[in-house]
């Protein structure tokens, strides 16, 4: 098979280059580690540099493909690989852009964060391996490849959370993550088996075709299967009911890993959910008109409302900043679920596109916020709100960046989060889903309250006597400032990216 990319007739697997770059980088990291002269002597610079370059490469190539129109209607049209097991389209490239940029920021920041730690080669290898899995999740187009790529991203993540072997919180978080992950994976795989039983197929388009007939479909089995698949994805996106690993894991993990999991891993979970529900189950859910066979739209609506409410109310009661961010990450999963919940709107592409854009902006602002936490951990200042008191007197640039992240997360016009949250609110209004809209407004107000607690601590409160910042680690700073700049730039430059999100989303609705 050949496809046309930038005027060249190339083999179809070329469309998968962004994922391949990540995979090859992971292999290279293991090779570098294995040929080192003595154990533990691999240069930190080489490892971090190689990982950052690989992630950046994946990000740039995916972005370039997106611009060229690869996999999109205006270009080659969706590229099917391996008999439709994988697909490269606007949606998959869009999410590889998110995963690639987050990974690059995280590996860049890890250079300073991991200073003096052991097993650095393994760390970077695991990060890039997980990123490979996430980018494959974006392309997976069959329940089998989805499960495999999901595990490819999950297994390294368990190890990464527990990377600080001598830190109790890290190990505890890793163990909880592993146990919940194992449980939810089994729920997911059982759901997949039920869907297979009802449809006789694993490839998503074939599932949709098999279910389109209607009359002979065993609705009961299918319904249980769909709900279990939904629950399986709830784990990956840190949504209710499989959200409770998130606060422990994000708090215990090294902060760059928290950033990685809460931004990239969440986005990857969402792209799989979007693809499965909109490719395989649109008619089942009544999206093509007619009564739904299995009303998963209502189920997702309930999940969205509960997830954003649980996440935000829990975040508002936290005393530790990192844990607050962890719960707020659950809340944002609830916001992003609106993309699957408000589908009663006439313009479904807009609803899903709004959700995709929110995940993109979230990738930068949330990664940035966790990397700022990494910075404070590097400085050795405490974890509670009070410990941040007066930090702006010591590190004004980093605090200004953190203020941009937090206000953008809260939906104020200082970053792209303002527009993406209003898009989501507009989507609920268009769908006439007043429950979702009201929940979004209440939660958004609450989130402004707890995000501004951090801002207040940094800028308004007086510093305690022993607060002192004595080092300004350059790569961590660079990652934080780049994330802040992109978050801010996404406000005026939102329009550069939103058309590709809306186009990619519209394709899924035929």
């Amino acid at each position: 098979m050949v496809v046309d990319i930038a005027g060249f007739q190339v083999a179809d697997w070329v469309a998968l280059v962004p994922s391949l770059i990540l995979g090859v980088t992971a292999m290279l990291l293991f090779i570098v580690d294995s040929i080192e002269p003595r154990p533990g002597t691999s240069s930190n610079t080489v490892l971090a540099g190689l990982s950052t370059l690989g992630a950046l490469g994946a990000f740039l190539v995916a972005g370039y493909f997106l611009v060229l129109g690869v996999g999109q209607p205006r270009g080659t049209g969706a590229v099917d690989l391996f008999n439709g097991q994988l697909v490269v389209d606007g949606m998959s490239l869009f999410f590889v852009v998110i995963v690639g940029s987050v990974t690059a920021l995280v590996t860049l920041a890890s250079y300073d964060y991991l200073e003096g730690q052991e097993y650095q080669a393994e760390y970077y290898g695991l990060v890039i391996m997980a990123a490979t899995g996430m980018s494959l999740m974006a392309s997976a187009n069959s329940l089998a490849t989805i499960f495999v790529s999901l595990e490819l991203s999950s297994l390294p993540s368990y190890a990464l959370v527990a990377f600080l072997k001598k830190n109790r919180g890290s190990v505890e978080g890793g163990l909880k993550y592993l146990l919940v992950g194992a449980l939810s994976s089994s729920v997911l795989v059982y759901g997949i088996s039920l869907v297979y039983a009802a449809s006789g197929s694993l490839q998503l388009n074939a599932v949709a075709d098999a279910l389109a007939g209607g009359s002979s479909v065993p609705v009961g089995i299918l319904g249980v299967g769909i709900i279990m698949v939904l629950l399986g994805f709830a784990f990956k996106t840190a949504s209710v009911p499989f959200h409770f690993w998130a606060p422990e894991a994000y708090e215990g993990a090294p902060a760059p890993v928290s950033a990685f999991l809460s931004s990239a891993s969440k986005a990857a979970g969402f792209v799989v959910a979007f693809r499965v529900f909109l490719t395989a189950f649109p008619e089942v859910g009544g999206l093509a008109g007619g009564d739904p066979m299995v009303d998963w739209v209502t189920a997702v609506t309930v999940l969205a409302v509960v997830t954003m409410t649980v996440g935000n109310f829990a975040a508002a009661t936290q005393e530790k900043v990192k844990r607050m961010l962890a719960y707020s990450s659950v809340g944002h999963a609830g916001y992003a679920l609106i993309g699957l919940a408000a589908l009663n709107a006439p313009d479904q592409g807009f609803v899903l596109g709004a959700s995709m854009m929110h995940l993109l902006v979230y990738g930068f602002m949330n990664t940035g916020a966790f990397l700022f936490i990494a910075l404070t951990e590097h400085w050795g200042i405490g974890r509670t709100f009070q410990d941040f008191n007066g930090l702006s007197t010591q590190a004004p640039l980093a605090c200004a960046a953190m203020t941009v992240f937090l206000f953008s997360l809260a939906g104020l016009p200082i970053g792209g989060g303002f527009i993406s949250k209003l898009y989501l609110l507009a989507a609920t209004a268009q769908a006439g889903s007043w429950l979702l809209g009201a929940a979004l407004i209440v939660n958004s107000a609450l989130s402004l309250f707890y995000y501004s607690r951090v801002v207040k601590a940094m800028w308004i409160e007086d510093p305690s006597a022993d607060l002192e910042v004595d080092s300004y680690p350059s790569s961590l700073y660079a990652a934080v400032v780049i994330a802040a700049f992109v978050t801010f730039a996404l406000l005026p430059a939102f329009g550069l990216l939103s058309p590709s999100a809306f186009d990619a989303a519209s394709v899924l609705f035929g």
Partner: protein, 519 residues
């Protein structure tokens, strides 16, 4: 169309200026910010003389200084950077630039720490306010509208009084929720218009709505109910900003805790954002709903007038007195708007300008007295007239301005509002309602005279241990300028009223022809 007009110059100067001030050392940040802020004053003064707009910005009038740049594609809708001025926004823009400069000068004495951050934030706020009054694309306008909150949060939170943290977060959350509610209302309208519009351009949407019959059902809600729901949501959202009773409770906290120059901006300009938005959105776009529900709306207005004045009567803190009386004064704007008469609209808009100047003057005067006495409680001060003759003289003049003394701006504004409301065919029992609203003036006179008599005159005494002497020249100078403006607009309201009347006439079927040049 030109892309870089004077409005872009204003935005650029204030934004770049803010950055420069942030990086400047504390010692001369205040002077630098004031110098920078003179540029917008000069530019907007030139814009006033070169103003060539006609008619209403939303209803097909000719815009002055218009420019448009494409920005974001939102599904089917195109969002653009679209700015321009008409006779309503031009005076408000002037008010913003002039009041910012005066507030900056009045900050020199009270602001004594983290100056570069303070003055930088003030300029950022000026930039956002300029954007609010000139943007004509809904999303663009919303960006500026919300952007005002960020500097305001810090200005209250860092430099405010003892309960500043509580006041700042209350203001922040309150107004943010209001915005989201208003946003849902407006988006419901946009979706209701369906295919008939493809942008978020406010003039286009306003004209589509006023033409009638363009609304279709959204999510099962029929057009008539849709416009009522949208009106209610938008009114609720904007009412918080105005503020209208009963959603005014953030205002006293914010005002009392804010440092004086910030109170000046808050009362002088930020409250006008609410009434400006009500005029642009509710009363222009959804005129029929507003007319049909005039009885309820005017009730909110009159309640705000009387209740705000009564609350002011009960206060001991001079700043609280002025803060609550702002609620009362903004109630007049609501009454003027809902009258749906030429003088009602014109007077309400003129009241925004006049109250901006007079309340700014009152807050500044209270601030100057506080700088010397370090107290604002009525019972703590007595007989300072001999020691601070200039400040006290201006305080008296400002108070009479507030009471609506002829030949001061407040008189013209309130007279026009009452005339407009009296003649209203929309407000039920208009003469009676107007009479009740006028009673508010009596209460204003009562509490201001009482407060002045106790604090300014009589035998000298002071509960705090400070030596009261004449205020420095740079404290008094902004007061003199403001008082001069109040008197000029009182003697010659036509200077701004003519362009206002020209811009509000299209809102009504029977425009007022000629003969509106007051004095």
């Amino acid at each position: 169309m030109p892309v870089a007009g004077p409005i872009e110059a204003l935005l650029a100067v204030t934004l770049v200026g803010a950055l420069a001030v942030f990086l400047a050392p504390d010692e001369w940040a205040g002077k630098l910010a004031t110098a920078i802020s003179l540029v917008p004053v000069a530019v907007s003064a030139w814009m006033y003389t070169a103003f060539d707009g006609a008619g209403n910005a939303l209803l097909g009038g000719d815009l002055a200084f218009e420019s448009t740049i494409g920005w974001v594609q939102l599904g089917r809708y195109e969002l653009a950077y679209h700015v321009g001025l008409d006779g309503i926004s031009m005076p408000l823009l002037l008010l913003t630039t002039v009041l910012t400069t005066l507030a900056l000068v009045s900050s020199w004495t009270p602001i004594d720490e983290r100056q570069s951050q303070f003055y930088g934030l003030m300029l950022l706020m000026e930039a956002s306010l300029i954007g609010v009054f000139s943007a004509l694309d809904f999303f663009m306008w919303l960006v500026f509208w919300e952007a005002v909150l960020i500097p305001m949060y810090f200005l209250i939170g860092v430099w405010g009084g003892p309960r500043r943290k509580y006041a700042a977060i209350k203001f922040f959350v309150y107004t943010n929720v209001a915005t989201l509610i208003m946003f849902v209302g407006f988006m419901a309208l946009v979706f209701g218009l369906g295919d008939s519009i493809s942008t978020f351009d406010m003039p286009e949407i306003a004209q589509a709505l006023r033409a009638g019959g363009n609304l279709s059902a959204v999510a099962g809600i029929q057009p008539a109910n849709l416009s009522l729901i949208a009106f209610t949501l938008m009114f609720a959202g904007f009412a918080v900003k105005v503020p209208v009773f009963p959603v005014h409770t953030w205002l006293p906290d914010a005002h009392v805790e804010a440092p004086t120059p910030v109170s000046v901006m808050l009362a002088g300009v930020l409250l006008k954002m609410g009434t400006y938005a009500l005029l642009r959105f509710n009363f222009t776009m959804l005129r029929e709903v507003a007319e049909a529900n005039a009885a309820i709306i005017v009730a909110f207005g009159v309640l705000s007038i009387i209740y705000g004045a009564m609350l002011a009567l009960a206060q001991q803190d001079l700043k609280r007195i002025v803060a609550y009386s702002s609620i009362s004064s903004m109630g007049y704007v609501i009454v003027g708007l809902v009258a749906f008469t030429p003088h009602g609209f014109g007077g309400a808009t003129f009241q925004m300008i006049s109250h901006g100047l007079i309340s700014g003057l009152m807050f500044m005067t209270v601030g100057v007295i506080y700088n010397e006495t370090h107290t604002r409680m009525v019972g703590d001060i007595s007989g300072i007239a001999d020691r601070m003759p200039w400040a006290v003289g201006i305080f008296v003049a400002a108070a009479f301005g507030y009471m609506g003394l002829p030949f001061m701006a407040g008189f013209a504004a309130e007279y026009l509002i009452f005339q407009g409301a009296f003649a209203s065919s929309v407000i039920p029992a208009a003469p009676l309602v107007t009479g009740v609203a006028m009673f508010g003036i009596v209460i204003v006179a009562g509490y201001l005279l009482w407060a002045m008599q106790r604090t300014l005159f009589g035998e000298y005494s002071l509960a705090t241990d400070y030596d009261v002497s004449r205020a420095p020249v740079h404290d008094v100078a902004p007061l003199v300028v403001l008082l001069a403006l109040v008197i000029v607009l009182g003697v010659r309201p036509g200077l701004v009223y003519q362009m206002i009347q020209d811009a509000v006439n299209p809102l009504l079927d029977t425009a007022l022809q000629g003969g509106v040049a007051l004095w």
